[in-house]
Symmetry: C2
């Protein structure tokens, strides 16, 4: 076990033991290094690793703190590794996205707030206006698409689901997604799919919300490269 691993394990223990909690400040580098029996260099490597993982947050001139440890924060590092995969590997990731967002849509049907419902409607109307223009602003439509999906995922009420979806369907992933979807009618179809999901949410119909979201994401998935459906 390397010194750095000892640092990671040590900080982890300090958190699980309750010595450190969200928002708490760590001892200064010199003290913590001495306490863990490592040099400042090794300590910094471990702290940096935990920073990348979203566990710690260092601020120059201030100190090192434990983050909120929210799933959203902790899963953000996942986006990095997802984006590392090329276009060919996108399919299994999108399948996970589909399953999770479908579940979230079903849950959201029963618990979506009036405010979120209204916001989702506004997003859809904005998207409709974008599509009505002669020269469609594709970037703006992608923005609206992202916003709609985020609202639904959030209203599912499971922060882990929200964080995972956010990590998988991040910026890079979505751009890849739409790169292969510029055939005629793709955006209009997406718009109709979204509206169908919205109606199901407004009606509080969980089953309809599930089916609509699943169908929509299956549509998207078919445009991805890779084995269509293991046709071997």
């Amino acid at each position: 076990m390397s010194r750095t691993d000892e640092v990671v394990a040590g900080v982890r223990r300090m958190i699980t033991d309750g010595e450190l909690g969200p928002g708490d400040r760590l001892p200064v580098e010199k003290d913590l290094a001495e306490r863990l029996g490592v040099s400042r260099g090794s300590l910094r490597e471990g702290v940096r690793a935990l920073t990348v993982l979203g566990v710690l947050d260092t601020r120059q001139g201030d100190g090192t703190y434990v983050t909120s440890l929210d799933p959203a924060r902790l899963m953000s590092s996942l986006q990095f590794v997802v984006d590392l995969h090329g276009d060919t590997g996108a399919r299994p990731f999108h399948a996970v996205r589909r399953v999770l967002e479908t579940e979230a849509a079903g849950l959201a049907a029963h618990r979506i707030t009036p405010e979120a419902l209204a916001e989702a409607r506004d997003v859809l109307e904005q998207a409709a206006r974008t599509l009505a223009q002669d020269d469609v602003d594709h970037a703006a439509f992608i923005e609206a698409d992202t916003a709609f999906h985020r609202i639904v995922a959030e209203q599912g009420g499971n922060p882990v689901v929200t964080a995972l979806v956010e990590a998988i369907a991040g910026r890079t992933f979505r751009e890849r997604l739409w790169r292969g979807r510029h055939e005629a009618g793709a955006e209009e179809r997406t718009q109709r799919d979204h509206e169908a999901v919205w109606r199901a949410l407004a009606a509080g119909d969980a089953e309809a919300a599930r089916v609509r979201m699943a169908a929509h994401l299956l549509d998207v998935e078919e445009t991805l490269p890779g084995p269509e459906a293991t046709e071997d």
Copy 2:
């Protein structure tokens, strides 16, 4: 942007640009540091962070290599952050596990190999023998429980699902899970649930496999602490 972030971004770019691929060796610390315009210390912090994320693998006396970049490898860091959450935060994680494993069970029904089916049966028989003893070996049963779920998840055929389930339902999480399940009959019930899933898989009945797995995991979920079902 800190020097370390530049290192992470630089290596990421080298990978996405195709300059580096799985198994490839990175330049030695001195050269790479010079190329990225940072000191060896900063370089090491960045490389270490990528090592923790499962992207790089350093071997003393040999060199630094890009890993296979398999989802299983890349998601392993997720287990660390999942385990960081206490018992109270386990419920949303388990909900994700339930949804993903349910999907995997449905997929597995159509594509499980005879070998995997036989291995799963062996695991279940082993578990049954464990339960038949006067003094039940709980650790052995947990082991069999883990093995059964892993086989089903793997046979779902989606490596991302497998990796996520593995990360969420890791060792620490499972131990927490069973800590609150030592009431009489819990293990026997689990065994019956598993056998029902197995029969569905053997019959190639995807819907049955889904339902059985979902019901089993809902059972488990009810024993977790936290809001029963948002009864507000």
